[in-house]
């Protein structure tokens, strides 16, 4: 089969099993768009801003586990996508980004819409390529998918000069079935000796804790994790990125840990003698002050990326390998039953944990006439029976969603943790809804964040995406305001956001359903009504208490045992 570069790209995507491409056209990719026009198998979703294309592909990948695909033009198309690429990079999400480039002969001449895309994206991709010869195109695309989806996943950019896609030049095409790269060999199996050593230490533990993260979700290891935790009856806490891998309603779950983690989770971290870290990267939001982190613990760490191990915190038993396989092997060793856990110590440990739990650190004012944001999230949980895909933006609403939705399944909670990108929520939800047209998909957002990609309401109309936007409208960049209240004596410098459009009218003008609710007593009715519109997008503007803060909170640079628990409280 002889094909032009443009046709080769589309054919590669088909052969890779890609069904959806999120993109935006422009001069450098016109040949590719012409190739897209001529076929039906690969569906193109036209966004309204390239940042949204990257977030949508990213959301698609997070929800499905399959790589997301982006297509944008050179210059401004590529630079607009960079925020989305960096977002995927920080959370290790497999995305392949195809960018147009000016024709090879004029590269480097400051040609129209030329930027050094490979240079600009280098620090925020797992890898990138500039395709210099048509003959390399198919293999490069194959490599891009291979690199993006294996090992520690991540975004890969393929920069394609316009002359490479010239419809007049055709070459024989075949898609490489497999690639082997001598310079890239991700670890496929954790060392059994290390696994046995770890199990022995776990069995002897008196105060063990599992601390698990995004790696469990990325590797689809939720089942193995749940089985292991429930067999051992150890307590488990999860990072923001790990939520849902072990069920939020599971009896060994202590809640999220870290800066806005629960009292019981953070105290358990502080007191533990054996920490089992699984697919988590000891982020500063989690560790607090590293010198005070888990002061008494022997630390076991399972991670596929050797550079995650002992990066921020010294690890005693490293296990480099994929979470799922390592957890399965651990389970096998545990079930062989040669060593028994220390039941007596474990019982005492749980008694201590129950004491911490009884602080009820997530309590909030239930009688308020103003809607409490926590209440709104709990209502969302109730109305969706805890079974929706929930995406979010960044801020207080994100933390409330994480704390109060209690995700029972992996890949249901979709948020930007590492980069913390406002504007992520709506486009990410588009990717999720494209992948699961029948599923309930909700965006929990803030009035500041939603305005960063609000234009995507048009995309949602065009593709009939019945997303439910739950706006926790506090009239502030709440998270910023909270820090200013705590650490800048309430000088609210530039964090007010009272000037917004009328979101109901705005939504209606985009052709969707807009609703507003501002009284606690009306919340349940409004939320239920929003979800009765099965095939319409509904934007529910929930006017919430503008003064509410996220608790517990560990102040930056403090240890896990030093938390603010409630308004006006001292550190405990």
């Amino acid at each position: 089969m002889e094909l032009s570069g443009g046709d080769i790209i589309v054919q590669c995507l088909k052969d890779e099993g890609v069904e959806h491409v999120f993109g935006y056209p422009g001069g450098a990719v016109l040949h590719i768009y012409d190739a897209i026009f001529k076929q039906q198998d690969v569906k193109h979703i036209l966004v309204r801003h390239e940042q949204a294309a990257a977030h949508a592909a990213d959301g698609y990948a997070r929800a499905t586990g399959k790589p997301g695909v982006v297509l944008v033009t050179s210059g401004p198309g590529a630079t607009n996508a960079v925020t989305g690429i960096a977002t995927a990079y920080m959370d290790s999400i497999p995305v392949v980004i195809l960018t147009g480039q000016v024709p090879t002969p004029v590269i480097g001449s400051d040609a129209f819409q030329e930027v050094d895309t490979v240079g600009i994206t280098r620090p925020c991709v797992k890898h990138n390529f500039l395709v210099k010869r048509l003959e390399d195109l198919a293999l490069t695309i194959k490599k891009a998918f291979y690199i993006a989806t294996t090992g520690r996943p991540g975004p890969v950019v393929v920069d394609i000069p316009k002359d490479i896609t010239d419809p007049g030049i055709k070459i024989p095409y075949s898609y490489p079935g497999r690639v082997k790269m001598r310079s890239y060999n991700p670890v496929v199996k954790g060392h059994l000796g290390q696994i046995k050593k770890a199990v022995k230490i776990m069995m002897e533990a008196e105060r063990p804790v599992f601390y698990t993260g995004g790696g469990v979700v990325l590797d689809d290891a939720a089942k193995s994790l749940t089985e292991l935790v429930d067999t051992l009856e150890f307590p488990i806490t999860q990072t923001l990125m790990g939520l849902g891998a072990y069920p939020g309603s599971g009896k060994h779950f202590l809640g999220m840990l870290g800066m806005h983690g629960t009292y019981e989770a953070n105290m358990a971290m502080h007191e533990t003698d054996v920490l089992i870290a699984v697919g988590a990267r000891f982020d500063d939001r989690v560790t607090g002050h590293v010198k005070q982190f888990c002061p008494d613990a022997t630390i076991i760490h399972i991670d596929i990326d050797p550079s995650s191990i002992s990066k921020n915190v010294r690890v005693d038993v490293p296990i480099v390998g994929p979470v799922r396989q390592v957890l399965r092997d651990m389970l096998k060793v545990v079930n062989e039953g040669e060593i028994k856990p220390n039941k007596q110590a474990l019982k005492q440990w749980w008694e201590q944990i129950e004491k911490w739990r009884s602080m009820d650190c997530l309590k909030y004012d239930q009688k308020s006439k103003l809607i409490k944001p926590q209440h709104a999230v709990e209502m969302l949980h109730k109305v969706t029976k805890g079974d929706a895909f929930v995406t979010s933006d960044v801020g207080q609403h994100q933390m409330f969603a994480a704390q109060f939705y209690r995700f029972d399944k992996p890949r249901r909670w979709i948020n930007s943790g590492g980069l913390g990108t406002m504007g992520f929520g709506l486009p990410a939800a588009m990717g999720v809804q494209m992948a699961f047209p029948k599923a309930e998909v909700a965006v929990v957002t803030g009035e500041s964040s939603i305005q960063m990609c609000i234009q995507e309401l048009a995309t949602c109309l065009q593709y009939e995406l019945p997303i439910k936007i739950i706006l926790l409208n506090n009239g502030y960049m709440g998270m910023v305001r909270q820090w200013q209240e705590f650490f800048y004596e309430s000088r609210y410098s530039q964090s007010g956001m009272s000037v917004t459009p009328d979101f109901v009218k705005l939504t209606e003008s985009y052709g969707h359903v807009g609703m507003r609710v501002d009284k606690s007593k009306d919340l349940e009715g409004a939320m239920k009504e929003a979800f009765t519109y099965k095939d319409r997008l509904v934007f529910l503007d929930v006017v919430v208490d503008p003064t509410e803060n996220v608790y517990p909170m560990i102040a930056a640079g403090k240890g896990h045992h030093e938390m603010y628990l409630s308004p006006g409280s001292e550190l405990v």
Binding site: H127, R182, S183, S307, R314
Partner: protein, 163 residues
């Protein structure tokens, strides 16, 4: 501590930029960096001199290994190794100084490779410390220009860093 890291990379355009970028992005020290193709045209060999605590060096080697284009690397300072750097140094050499400089060059087993009425250009090869010693030994005022390649290194013994 000073470490010499030897890297075998795919000879792709941009490979050097990836390494340099990694060091600036993560705030690691980079003292010198040399790179050239090997007998296998598809591979480049790079020698990188850096310094830092054991933890930082561990991260540096892990992060370098993580670069997709890196095929293999070794921290030469972990074992027996040889290190060589070349320096071209131009010195002011007028009547009275000429003999003195020539003697010094001989002691260091250098070569004078360009001569004018008023200058010598000297070629000197050795470990970085030897080149430093030469510079120390020459009167500062005589130095017109110093050009150093940065060290390249190789492990001692019969084994090589290969595929």
């Amino acid at each position: 501590m000073r470490h010499i890291i030897s890297i075998l990379m795919e000879n792709e355009s941009g490979a050097l930029a990836r390494v340099a970028n990694l060091f600036t992005a993560r705030g690691y020290n980079i003292e010198s960096l040399t790179v050239a193709p090997t007998e296998d045209r598809s591979l480049s060999r790079m020698t990188l001199v850096t310094s830092g605590s054991d933890e930082i060096i561990e991260q540096i080697t892990k992060q370098l290994n993580k670069l997709i284009d890196v095929v293999k690397l070794v921290d030469l300072t972990e074992g027996g190794h040889l290190e060589r750097e070349m320096m071209l140094i131009k010195l002011r050499a007028e009547r009275t100084q000429r003999e003195e400089i020539k003697r010094l060059v001989d002691i260091f087993r250098g070569k004078i490779i360009d001569v004018t009425d008023t200058s010598y250009t000297v070629e000197l090869t050795g470990a970085a410390s030897k080149l430093n010693a030469f510079i120390e030994a020459v009167n500062d005022e005589l130095i017109v220009e110093v050009v150093r390649t940065g060290p390249s290194g190789i492990g001692r013994g019969p084994k090589g860093l290969g595929l």
